[in-house]
Symmetry: C2
Subunit: 158 residues, 2 copies
């Protein structure tokens, strides 16, 4: 995890941005979170690391980190869940429907699919945004314990 912090810190330095106490607190907060956090949540948690942390600074830092590619907004069909650390390169997030905990997946292989889309639509595809939702292992276990009388899962359009 120290590596992940260093990599992000490096991005600030390389691009000529100062690594201030508030920014450090925000980065550490995001690294320590298991789920995407809203700006207000980041402020609350961040104040444990840097007591004066202001909400405005959270907004500004998120904007900057998005620019640097170290943070990404995570939203699904049901709305924006917040911001999460993004590893360098092209990754996607998998979010748990129940507890909103999130994991990153790298190396998605959508090339063929996107070729088909290009062909069918006439668009020149330049990017894509994919968020996957599901139940994390912990929430699955909880489900299994509570509903011994299985309420069958809808597997049609996942």
């Amino acid at each position: 995890m120290a590596d992940r912090y260093e990599a992000i810190a490096e991005q600030f330095r390389v691009h000529g941005y100062k690594l201030t106490q508030p920014r450090r607190a925000i980065v550490q907060t995001l690294l320590g979170a298991a789920k995407p956090l809203s700006p207000a949540e980041i402020q609350q948690r961040g104040q444990k690391l840097y007591h004066e942390l202001g909400l405005v600074t959270v907004y500004r830092t998120l904007e900057l980190m998005e620019l640097l590619g170290t943070v990404r907004a995570v939203h699904l069909a049901d709305g924006c869940h917040g911001f999460a650390i993004a590893s360098p390169g092209h990754t996607h997030h998998v979010v748990c429907e129940r507890c909103h905990c999130v994991v990153e997946i790298a190396g998605c292989d959508l090339g063929d699919f996107l070729d088909t889309v290009a062909e069918r639509t006439g668009y020149a595809i330049t990017g894509h945004w994919l968020e996957v939702s599901g139940l994390c292992a912990a929430c699955q276990a909880q489900d299994a314990a509570e509903h011994t009388h299985d309420d069958s899962i809808d597997a049609t359009a996942r």
Copy 2:
């Protein structure tokens, strides 16, 4: 297009909701739009069809239509672009980066990909949200005309 309107009207009726003038104006506005519209845009355009259309009603109708599955929020990494009519079934949107015009794609085939994700993460996958961005045919043509001196397109992580 009359069919598309009828199908949506049917959804209102079937679920016991009234087909009021404001709602009709909103549906027609969305059907006539080539790009996702924000609530404010829907109000503005909708007032050409029903002059008294209030913004509050737009919000309420969008919420209802989302519930009925006839409208979908469209957002990409760079923010929420608005709401667009959604065809029944599982579809995704392809949005033009330049003009934001949108087309729907049906029958996405992400099964294998999602199986891999499930395997790697331990999550039980229940849904996914995919938005594709690119340049529509018209904007590509415009580009070709303006930049005879091609500024090469970044094709790395699309």
